[in-house]
Each structure stands twice: as C-alpha cells, then as structure tokens.
C-alpha cells in the first residue's frame, strides 16, 4: 500500500492530480445541489408540524454535520502533520479550516432562522448551540494561527495543537442533545436502524448532503493547491509552473 500511496505524497503529483479532478467534481457538485435544492424547495412535502419552515432542514443539517466532519478531517491531518511531519497533511489542514468556518457559520445562521419561527427565539445558550459556536471559534482560531507565523512549519504546529485540543468539542456537540435538556431536537437522519423520516423527505436530503460533500472536496482542492505551491515556492517545478502560466 505504501508503494501505491507514495507518489501521492509528492506535492507535484498531488498538485496536478487535484487540478485534474476539480472540473469533474465541480460538475458533480452543481448537478447534485441543483437537484437536491430544487427537490427540497419545490417537491418535498411540508412537515406536518413545522410547515414549510422545515425546508431549512435541507441546508441546516448537512452543513452542521459536515462542519463536524471537516473538523475531524482537519484533526486527522493535523495529527499526521505533527507526528510524521507530512507537509502535505499540514497543507490540507490549512486548506480545510476556512471551509469548516464557513460551514459552521452557515449552520448557525440557518439554525437561528429556523429557531425563530419554531422556538420563538433566534438564539439560546443551550448545549448544542453553544458547543457549535465554540466550534466556529476553534476554526477561526486555527485560521488565525495559520496566518500568525511567517514560517509555515511553526504555524502548522501551533494550529495543529489547537486543532487536536479542540477535538474534545466534537463529541460534546454530537451528544449534547442527549446529555442535556435542550430545545434542539434529537437526531433525525442518523438514528440507528431506520431513519425516522419519510422517504420523500429523505431523498432530497441525500442529494443535498452529497452535494455539500462534493462542494467541500472541490473547495478543499482549490485551497490545497494554493497551500502546496506556497509551501514549495522554491522548488524548480513550481518555478516552471509559474513561468509557464505567465503573468495573468
């Protein structure tokens, strides 16, 4: 396996590979999100209790779950970067942080806009909401640390340590609705066994969710490429690349 993986640890190969997959994954993202959002807004039935405000669910839940997913991904990358000094892992952790921050922000805003008509308040300091807000601050802290040092290696180290400490927040978010009494409802989709959703509500959700997953992949690739070349700017292949592109 290592022999197979080895070429992908080469920044140049990875740079060109990610460049090649971006158009395909962009097309896939656009297709999935167009189908998913249209289905969610126009064809999915309204909830019998929450009416049409339920349609916020189709962006709120994917962004919220995926914000945690991005954090876990970033933490794994940070661990690899700290333990094995893989520079590409550090680059991917740096690429993921802003995307996670945006997803967390979106989940908080959509949650507030859903909470106002359903709970009667935009915000409440309950466990789920507060821990998600902390996740946003963790992402912002990681971004700040990545930009705080001129030397990318020490920046990666500092940000990586913060990332790993912050992992404690992930199970707190996940189980906050079970551990504490909260206004936030429990899991709907990921319940063990059958999801407690009707099929005609579930399908558009799956499309939206997968659309957001591939959206993350695309933006990660774009940012990852910038991180790679800025970390390898003295290498001949980057020099060649920049000179070939000319001043645009």
């Amino acid at each position: 396996m290592w022999k197979w993986l080895h070429p992908y640890a080469n920044p140049e190969t990875t740079y060109h590979l990610t460049g090649r997959i971006i158009p395909w994954f962009s097309a896939l993202t656009i297709a999935l999100l167009t189908i998913g959002i249209t289905w969610a807004l126009l064809f999915a039935p309204a909830d019998y209790q929450q009416g049409d405000s339920f349609r916020i669910f189709y962006i709120h839940v994917p962004t919220a779950t995926l914000s945690m997913g991005i954090y876990v991904g970033m933490a794994i990358a940070a661990l690899c970067s700290l333990v094995w000094q893989l520079r590409l892992a550090d680059a991917s952790a740096a690429a993921l942080a802003p995307i996670g921050a945006v997803f967390t922000f979106v989940s908080l805003v959509t949650g507030a806009a859903w909470g106002k008509p359903m709970w009667g308040t935009w915000w409440i300091w309950d466990a789920r909401l507060t821990s998600q807000l902390i996740l946003l601050f963790l992402f912002l802290g990681v971004i700040a640390l990545h930009n705080a040092f001129e030397d990318k290696t020490s920046a990666g180290k500092a940000a990586g340590i913060l990332t790993l400490v912050g992992v404690i927040n992930i199970p707190i978010i996940k189980y906050s609705v079970e551990w504490w009494n909260t206004l936030h409802q429990g899991a709907t989709v990921s319940k063990m066994g059958k999801p407690s959703m009707s099929i005609d509500m579930l399908w558009p959700f799956i499309f939206c969710y997968m659309g957001f997953v591939f959206l993350i992949v695309v933006i990660t690739c774009i940012r990852f490429r910038s991180e790679i070349i800025s970390r390898n700017s003295m290498r001949p292949w980057v020099r060649e690349l920049v000179l070939n592109q000319g001043v645009k």
């Binding site: 959002i37 807004l41 126009l42 064809f43 999915a44 039935p45 309204a46 009416g51 049409d52 405000s53 349609r55 916020i56 962006i59 709120h60 962004t63 802003p98 995307i99 945006v102 922000f105 979106v106 805003v109 959509t110 806009a113 859903w114 106002k116 008509p117 959206l215 933006i219 774009i222 940012r223 490429r225 910038s226 070349i229 800025s230 700017s233 980057v238 020099r239 920049v242 000179l243 592109q245 001043v247 645009k248």
Partner: protein, 87 residues
C-alpha cells in the same frame, strides 16, 4: 409540486422570510468562499512570480555591476575625472 403558484412558493406558508434568509445566507457565504479561494490561488501564483522576477533582476544587476567593476579597473581615471567635473 407543493405550491400552487409562484406567490405561494415565495411565501413558503408564512415562513418565507426565514426560509429565504437561510438559503440566501448559505448561497452568499459559499459563493464568497469559492471566489476568495480562487482569488487566493491567483494571488499566490502572482506573489511567487513577483519573487522570481525580483530575484532575477537582482542577479542581473549584480552581474552588471561586477562587469562594470572589471571594466572600470582599466578605466578608473575616466570615472575620477567625471566625478571631479560634477561638484
């Protein structure tokens, strides 16, 4: 289709403001993220390019100076004379 007409669609059963606020903010945030990410890539390439050209210029300038110095060794008198003529 869940809605009878376009007005009913925008009204979202009375939740129009909240639904469109959510979808609007999401779209805006993600589009902004994509644009900024692309911009960042362009800027990174540009910055590296600038560094290269600066480095190249510096090398050339150093080379020229060295050549000038070697030439001046033989014609140092000319330089001294021109220096005197300009007080």
């Amino acid at each position: 289709m869940q809605f009878e007409n376009i007005n009913a669609f925008f009204a979202m059963g009375g939740y129009g403001f909240y639904v469109w606020l959510s979808y609007g903010v999401t779209a805006l945030a993600i589009v902004l993220l994509i644009i900024l990410s692309k911009q960042k890539h362009k800027n990174t390439l540009l910055a590296i390019n600038q560094r290269y050209t600066r480095e190249l210029k510096r090398k050339e300038a150093a080379k020229q100076q060295q050549e000038l110095k070697q030439n001046n060794l033989s014609s140092s008198e000319v330089v001294e004379k021109t220096n005197e003529s300009t007080p």
